[in-house]
Every structure is written in C-alpha cells, then in structure tokens.
C-alpha cells in the first residue's frame, strides 16, 4: 500500500500517542507517589517504644501530647468516622436514589434540565461553607427540634455529609439508569407493568452495578470529608452511644493536629499512620463493594 502520509505526520502521531500514554501512566505514578509519601511519614512510629499496633487499633484513649502517659488509641476516632458516614448514607441513599429515579424516569424536558442543574449546584458548595452551616444553622435547629443540649453531633455532620453526597449519587445513579436500554422499558409496559413495577422489578436490578458504584462514590466522599466534620461534629473523643453524641473523625484529627506536630516527631508519624488507616478503610469498602458487585453479576 502506498503510504501517502509525510514523515512529519507519522512522527506527530507517535508523539501524541506517547504524550497520552504519559498522561495515563502519570495517574498511576501519582497514586504510588502518594502511597510512598504517606508510608514514609508513618513508618518511623513503629520504632517507638510507646507505640503498639494493637493498642492503636483497639484503644479508645487518644492522648498523643500527654506529658505523663502517651497513648495512641484510635478506636474512638474510627467509631466517629464510621458512625458519621453510616448515618449520612442512611439519609443519602434513599434520597439520592429516589432523586436519580425521579430525574431519570419521571421528569421530562425543562423540569429535568433545571433539576439536574440545581443538584449539581449542591455539589459545588465548598465544604467549609457546609461546616459553617452546620455550626450556625443546624446547631440551634437540632437543639430546638430534638431538645438536646449540644447540636454539634453525629446527626449534624451526617446531614451535611448526606447533602454533599447526594449530588454524587444522583449524577452517577441517573447515568446508570439511563444506560438501561429502552427495550427493557418497552417490554415491561407491553407486558402490562405499572410504572412502579417497571422501576422496582426491572430497572433497579438491571442498573444495580451502576447504582452501587454511585453509592460507593458517595461513601468515599463522606469518609474523606474533613472541614465540614471538623466544625459540625463537636470534636469530642469518645465512642458514641446515640446520634446526639459529639464525636471526632480520623480526618478531623489529622487536620487539627498536624500543624502542631513538629516534623519527625512520634505525634507526626502517628498522624500519618492515621492517614494510612483511612486509606485502608476506603480500600476495604471498595473491595467489599467490588466483591458484592461480582457476586451480584454472577447470580
């Protein structure tokens, strides 16, 4: 075959391909670089006598700056992260999936456009603003509505995180629902199904991988959130007994204490170790979800 392209255009193709490849690889490079950086920061703590991995994971006593009895127990902090995320998902998933179904199946034309724009706007609010809302608006509101003493608690932060996660769940959930071919819908209606039966028995099962991915991304957003929970949880280290208890999350602990820890000190390394712990929690959540999706696929 006669090659009608000039040498320059061939090299140009190759150069562009190389550049795109570099961009793709760089994502992996950055992730590994972050892992490396965090592990290097956290590693020195293992050489410290006062540190014990079992104590780190299971003790609720967090006293890194004690003058007499230094203890690095993160159980209360982990409980804080998990409780706030859990309650947030309890609120966000029904609302988010409901909104996704509404936007995808029930709304048409202008309504749909406006709804999508407004939901995206919710995602654009900076998290520090959410924290401020939690501190000044939700605090007295929760005190009044539920009659509790302190409005800075799990419920406060959970509502904020839910509002932050809902746009994520709606966007991706709506895409997942849209991806279900119309032939499914047409077939169900032809068989005489009502709209709700169509959604509940046909669309949701068909889109469940995508919907699960949407929920997982929402969870990821909630677990990693720092500023809003720093301000809205009341920042108290203890294992909660009710949703009206104040807690402290792993992310807020790092944010609040890293500025003071001098580089290379045990406190500094322990905070990096908490970062590793966060990585691990997110990783486990994603792994479990992957397995569930695979299991669901094989059914």
């Amino acid at each position: 075959m006669i090659n009608s392209r000039s040498a320059f255009s061939i090299y140009r193709e190759k150069a562009i391909e190389l550049l795109i490849r570099i961009c793709g690889v760089s994502a992996i490079v950055f992730v590994f670089a972050i892992f490396f950086f965090v592990f290097r920061g956290g590693f020195p703590i293992f050489g410290d006598d006062r540190f014990g991995l079992w104590q780190f994971l299971t003790s609720p006593d967090w006293y890194p700056t004690s003058m007499s009895n230094v203890r690095y127990g993160t159980l209360a902090l982990t409980a804080g992260t998990l409780s706030v995320t859990g309650v947030a998902m309890l609120i966000a998933v029904p609302f988010g999936l409901g909104a996704a179904i509404f936007v995808s199946e029930f709304s048409v034309g202008k309504t749909r456009e406006i709804l999508k724009i407004v939901i995206e706007l919710l995602a654009a609010i900076p998290s520090i603003v959410w924290g401020f809302i939690g501190l000044t608006v939700m605090n007295p509101l929760i005190q009044k509505v539920f009659g509790v003493q302190v409005g800075l608690n799990i419920l406060n932060a959970a509502i904020l995180l839910a509002l932050m996660s809902i746009p994520v769940i709606v966007s991706i959930g709506e895409d997942a629902l849209k991806a279900v071919p119309d032939s499914y819908r047409e077939a169900s209606i032809a068989l005489g199904a009502t709209r709700w039966q169509l959604i509940y028995r046909v669309l949701l099962p068909a889109a469940k991988n995508g919907l699960l991915a949407a929920v997982l991304l929402g969870v990821g957003r909630a677990v990693g959130e720092t500023m809003a929970v720093l301000m809205a949880t009341g920042h108290a280290v203890h294992i909660p007994h009710s949703i009206f208890d104040s807690v402290r999350t792993l992310t807020a602990t790092i944010a609040a204490e890293l500025g003071e820890a001098s580089e290379g000190s045990p406190h500094y390394s322990v905070l990096f170790l908490i970062g590793i712990l966060l990585f691990t929690i997110t990783f486990i959540v994603n792994l479990v979800a992957d397995l569930v999706v695979k299991g669901v696929k094989n059914k």
Binding site: A15, S68, Q143, H235, A236, H238, A256, E260
Partner: protein
C-alpha cells in the same frame, strides 16, 4: 506550514512538567524569613490572634514600610513554625517546653530563641447565663476536667441548671496554648483531660458554644468575653471566696489562673522585628492590649483599674 495548536500545546505541557521537575527542592522550606524590611510573619496562638491583628493594623500606620502578617493556628503551630524556621515571630500563650527550646536551639546553630513578654491574659471560666453558679474553685475544675475526675454532674456542685444535669465540658484542641496552660494549672501536668470534651478550634468558638448550651462550661481568654456568657469567679480552694478576673487581680496574682503571653523570635532577629517588638511593649502597644480586653504589662496598667 500550518501551525498545529495541538502540538504547541503538547510541547508547552511537557516543557512545564520538565521545568517544575528541576525546581529547587526545599525540604524544610529553607529560610522562609525574609530579611528585607517588608513583611514580618507572625504565627501562633489563637488566644493572641485578635490582639496581634490589632497590633499589626496599628503598626501599619506607624511604619508603612513594614507589614506584619498575622495568622493563628494555636501556640503549638507557632512553636512548630519557630522550630522549623518558617516564621519571624511566634506567638505563644505558654512558655516553651524544655524539649522545644532544645529543638529550636539546634535549628539555630546553638543559640536560644529570644523570649519577649508582651501581655498577660486571665483565663476565664465561662458558663451559660442561666446557670445559677457564681464561683468555682480550681479543685472542682480539676475534678470536672481531669481523666478520672469525680465531678460530672451539676448536682454534684450543688446547683440545678435548667438545661440538664450533665456537665458539658468545652475545651480546646491540643495544638492550643490555652489547652496546655489549663492542663498545667488546673488538670495537673502529670494527668490528662477526660475524654469526651468538645474540643473547639479557637477561643471564640468555646465562648460561642457555651453561649448556646445551657449546661456547658468552658475556658477561654478573658478577651473573648461577650454578654451572652457568664464569667465565674475562681478561687484556689473550695470554700475560699472567688476572685473575678480583672486587670488588677491578674497583675497582683490574686486571680489564680492567669498567664503571661509571649512572642518568641529566632536569635539574631532583624532590626525591623526588634523595633516592632519594642513598640508593642511601649505605651501605644499596651494601650491596644487594654482596648482588646487583655491585661497589659504592670507598668502600663491604668491607675484606677478595678
């Protein structure tokens, strides 16, 4: 030949990446202190941040060539910046610990950082206005806040608070000089705080939370007092009469929980920093201290102070 914008963009991108790659590596951010007379970096205590900001603004009128940049973060952050060499002046509402002095001395080639006493602060104990208590002792405060302390309900102190019986403890995060001072003066250096207190980010937030929570108690600088909270009189021992935090009682040491506030500088401070610090401990600087609600140095206390 037609210029392809895509190629130009690609070349630009790779060039940028290469360029950033061979930038200078600043592991410890080197010597971020500027030695010209333009800006002074002032970091640290949250208790002092409003005061430091007022000083900075007033000093800009005195010497327009020098601009003082103030940021908070807590005394711990200021001390950390001093040790890492990233600030000119570190504000601290507590004295440097021995360990910190050693680290700083090591950083500055064997010379000690310089300590400047700039003002005093009375640590006020705040409660909600609806709380019938008027005074409290350091012993009782210790039992409330210390790990293993026995007091956790208002009825144990003999009062009934309209909000509820549980004492809601409001505290500070552990990067705070106020937190360190409270631990030293009330809880006991060798002991720790009881877990479960609401640890706020800054002095103002403590007062705000106490103002909106009927059964809360909290500690913060007297300069942060508002008319939405009540200040308790404090005595050393239970049963002794409580003393109110004022300029007079702080300076004559009858108010038991007051502390000096320091500004630390690296040794060999530039002339502009020295001039600024001299201005702070002179009449105009100390007038601002009184105006901001803090306690000035004894020689500048108003003669008719209450």
């Amino acid at each position: 030949m037609k210029q392809n914008p895509f190629i130009l963009g690609a070349i630009a991108l790779s060039a940028t990446l290469a360029f950033t790659g061979c930038g200078k590596k600043s592991a410890d951010s080197g010597d971020a202190r500027k030695t010209e007379a333009i800006s002074i970096q002032n970091i640290g205590s949250d208790t002092m941040v409003n005061l430091a900001q007022e000083w900075a603004e007033a000093y800009a009128k005195v010497d327009p060539n020098v601009s003082v940049e103030v940021s908070g973060g807590g005394s711990g952050v200021g001390v950390s910046a001093l040790i890492n060499g990233t600030c000119d002046i570190a504000n601290s509402s507590r004295k440097l610990e021995l360990e910190e002095v050693e680290k700083a001395t090591a950083k500055y080639g064997g010379k000690h950082p310089l300590e400047h006493l700039v003002a005093f602060d009375a640590l006020a104990i705040y409660v909600h206005p609806s709380n019938p208590m008027t005074e409290i002792s350091i012993e009782q405060l210790g039992e409330i806040y210390r790990e293993g302390g026995q007091i956790s309900k208002w009825s144990q102190l003999g009062v009934t608070v309209p909000g509820g019986d549980e004492i809601v403890r409001v505290s500070r995060q552990n990067n705070s000089g106020t937190y360190h001072y409270f631990r030293e003066a009330v809880v006991g250096k060798k002991a720790d705080f009881k877990q479960g207190s609401r640890d706020m980010n800054g002095s103002k937030e403590v007062v705000d939370l106490v103002a909106s929570t009927p059964d809360a108690i909290g500690y913060s600088g007297i300069g942060y007092r508002t008319n939405k909270v009540k200040v308790l009189k404090v005595s050393r021992k239970t049963g002794d009469p409580g003393v109110e935090p004022t300029i007079k009682t702080t300076l004559d040491k009858t108010y038991p929980i007051a502390r000096p506030m320091f500004m630390y500088t690296p040794p060999g401070e530039p002339a502009e920093v020295e001039t600024y610090l001299k201005w702070i401990v002179s009449e105009p600087g100390q007038k601002i201290v009184i105006h901001a609600g803090y306690i000035p140095l004894p020689e500048f206390a108003p003669k008719d102070a209450p």
